[in-house]
């Protein structure tokens, strides 16, 4: 009996070293949707084509756990909110979190004029930044416009006066591709009081930027106006990061700015 035991112990040790287990992490699931910007609702599918795995998701901002809803069929999103999804499977470490924020339509912008993008990244045409399309992190996707001048000036015009409280600029970070969030946004408003343009206000917002070489995501930059204002025209001056930080291979040179949408609320 003891000899058998010894043999099996030895066998077990050899077996365990030869077949030592590697536990792998599941890849981040994919979120599928036509655009993060929607009028009434947005339908979102979540996938990871690995049999035996499940996706759990939240829309309350928290990291999904096994106790959160199990994904079974595409969901409808009807309000501005953030979806987070995570894959789980027996024998694997759970995935990283897939995340996207969806934006319900704001005030209708009738026309936009802005400095030309770099011709290589000209989006889908002159209305790219107000066409309601966007949200992909692939900068080559034609929802994005890429700019590499010192400042980008955009003029947004509405056919009739609207009350505006917030401006949202949807930008890309892909620091491996030298694409950083803007450094500063200035907002010049033409306030309409009894249909007369009377004043120009300026809002400056310094944007904090983390050091993260892997950063690859989209960010909604929200700028609150000092008060609700009734306007027909708004001018944005968006400043790309003038100097790429020291830790980056592109240190000291100007960063790229990529935008896919500007919204007013």
């Amino acid at each position: 009996m003891s000899r058998f035991l010894l043999i099996f112990v030895l066998f077990s040790l050899v077996f365990s070293s030869v077949f030592a287990q590697d536990t792998f992490q599941l890849a981040t699931p994919y979120l599928e949707y036509s655009s993060v910007f929607f009028e009434k609702k947005c339908t979102v599918a979540m996938t990871l084509a690995e049999p035996g795995t499940q996706i759990h998701y939240t829309t309350n901002g928290k990291i999904p756990t096994l106790k959160d809803p199990l994904y079974v069929a595409p969901i409808s999103i009807k309000k501005t909110k953030t979806l987070k999804a995570k894959a789980f499977g027996s024998g694997f470490y759970p995935s990283e979190v897939a995340e996207a924020t969806f934006f319900k339509a704001g005030i209708k912008i009738d026309s936009i004029n802005h400095d030309s993008p770099n011709p290589k990244y000209a989006g889908s045409g002159p209305n790219t930044l107000i066409d309601g399309q966007g949200g992909e992190v692939r900068f080559s996707d034609n929802c994005w416009m890429g700019f590499n001048e010192k400042v980008l000036t955009c003029t947004l015009t509405m056919s009739k006066p609207h009350r505006i409280k917030r401006v949202m600029i949807h930008a890309l970070s892909n620091q491996n591709a030298w694409i950083f969030l803007p450094q500063e946004v200035e907002i010049h408003l033409r306030e309409s009081a009894s249909n007369r343009f009377t004043s120009v206000d300026t809002v400056i917002k310094e944007l904090g930027i983390g050091i993260n070489a892997e950063a690859l995501n989209t960010t909604a930059i929200w700028v609150d106006l000092p008060r609700s204002m009734k306007i027909t025209q708004i001018i944005l001056k968006i400043y790309p990061r003038a100097e790429i930080p020291d830790w980056h291979p592109g240190a000291g040179t100007g960063a790229w700015l990529f935008l896919d949408e500007i919204k007013l609320y």
Binding site: M1, F4, L5, F8, V9, F11, S12, L13, F15, S16, F19, A20, Q21, D22, T23, F24, Q25, L26, A27, Y30, L48, A49, E50, P51, T53, G91, F92, R138, N176, L216
Partner: protein
């Protein structure tokens, strides 16, 4: 019999409970689908890192003695020679800073190697133990190359008659055909928008699965495809592999194997996997990748690999997968699950 079986179960239970409770209970992770499923062993290589360092592990081949040869761009030992159990048998090569492509050819019963060096801008033919037999410089005869730097060969394929086909996958994307003595015959492919053009012609191999119609399969990696040409360079067909940045095609038996450097949707994010196609060019299995389906892009589903760069299939259908830019990891072995 019953008693013996009972004893065995008991002792096994005791042994595993006492000594290795978790490990014995689990087998190595199984990757893949359908008839092509494998257990992955990331600790196959027994190489001592202080003696046999590697950098990028670009390609592997098996020789007639059943040895596995690995090509790395670490000039302390460009070629590591393993047995199938991962033991180092030999190491050689200090002159290949851009060692990238490794092809083995049976030259009248003798194994010879063709190394593509994309830092030296040359293709070097050697004996199986590293003696240099021939060197091909940049193909002036094509009148397409302003200088040697424009030629950045990534792979070779050798026809049964000894003709050498060089894929200039990091250069101008031409396939350049030479005779066995290294004399230029023709070139084809190259960059462009036509079906016959290539974008990152990263790999090439002979396909003799149809014995009456031997052909060449060429990688067009940025197009996520293989393209088939006849032996004279006439374009025949495209095998689209949406989402898959395929490296070189490797044919063994009826199947085609390829390391997928990364998923198109997740570039630069260590999103590689391995794809396997049947004779009808249909994907039957993705190892650590999405289950084959008729639609959509393929992608990584399990982070088992970072940037796989080549697959070697041995005579027992085991796979060896080596990787580029993946923390100087040694190759992994994958054993078929029957």
């Amino acid at each position: 019999m019953q008693r013996r079986a009972f004893l065995r179960n008991t002792t096994l239970g005791v042994a595993s409970a006492l000594y290795v409770p978790q490990r014995l209970g689990e087998a190595n992770t199984v990757l893949g689908q359908n008839q092509k499923r494998y257990r992955i062993n990331t600790r196959w290589s027994q190489a001592d890192v202080s003696r046999y360092p590697v950098n990028d592990c670009h390609e592997m081949v098996m020789d007639r003695q059943g040895r596995i040869l690995l090509l790395t761009n670490d000039v302390r030992n460009n070629v590591l020679v393993y047995d199938k159990n991962g033991k180092i048998l030999d190491a050689w090569g200090t002159e290949y800073p851009g060692a990238h492509g490794l092809t083995l050819f049976d030259e009248n019963g003798t194994d010879v190697l063709f190394i593509c060096d994309n830092a030296r801008h040359q293709v070097i033919k050697t004996s199986i133990d590293g003696k240099v037999l021939m060197t091909l410089d940049y193909p002036k005869e094509t009148e397409r190359y302003p200088n040697s730097e424009a030629f950045v060969p990534t792979e070779t394929a050798i026809a049964p008659n000894g003709d050498i086909y060089v894929a200039d996958g990091y250069g101008l994307d031409y396939i350049i055909q030479y005779d066995a003595q290294g004399r230029y015959i023709r070139h084809f492919g190259g960059k462009g928008e036509g079906a016959e053009h290539l974008k990152n012609a990263h790999g090439i191999c002979m396909d003799i699965r149809d014995k009456n119609n031997p052909s060449l399969l060429v990688t067009s990696r940025e197009q996520n495809a293989f393209k088939r040409f006849d032996m004279e360079g006439k374009y025949l067909e495209t095998i689209a592999l949406p989402g898959a940045w395929v490296c070189r095609p490797v044919i063994s038996g009826d199947y085609l194997y390829a390391a997928v450097l990364q998923s198109n949707n997740r570039q630069g994010q260590q999103s590689g996997f391995v794809t396997i196609l049947d004779k009808a060019n249909k994907v039957v299995s993705n190892l650590a990748g999405s289950a084959p389906s008729a639609t959509g892009e393929m992608y990584q589903t399990i982070k088992a690999f970072q940037y796989p760069h080549d697959v070697c299939v041995d005579d027992e259908d085991n796979l060896y997968v080596c990787q580029w830019n993946s923390g100087k990891t040694y190759p992994y072995k994958l054993e078929p699950v029957i």
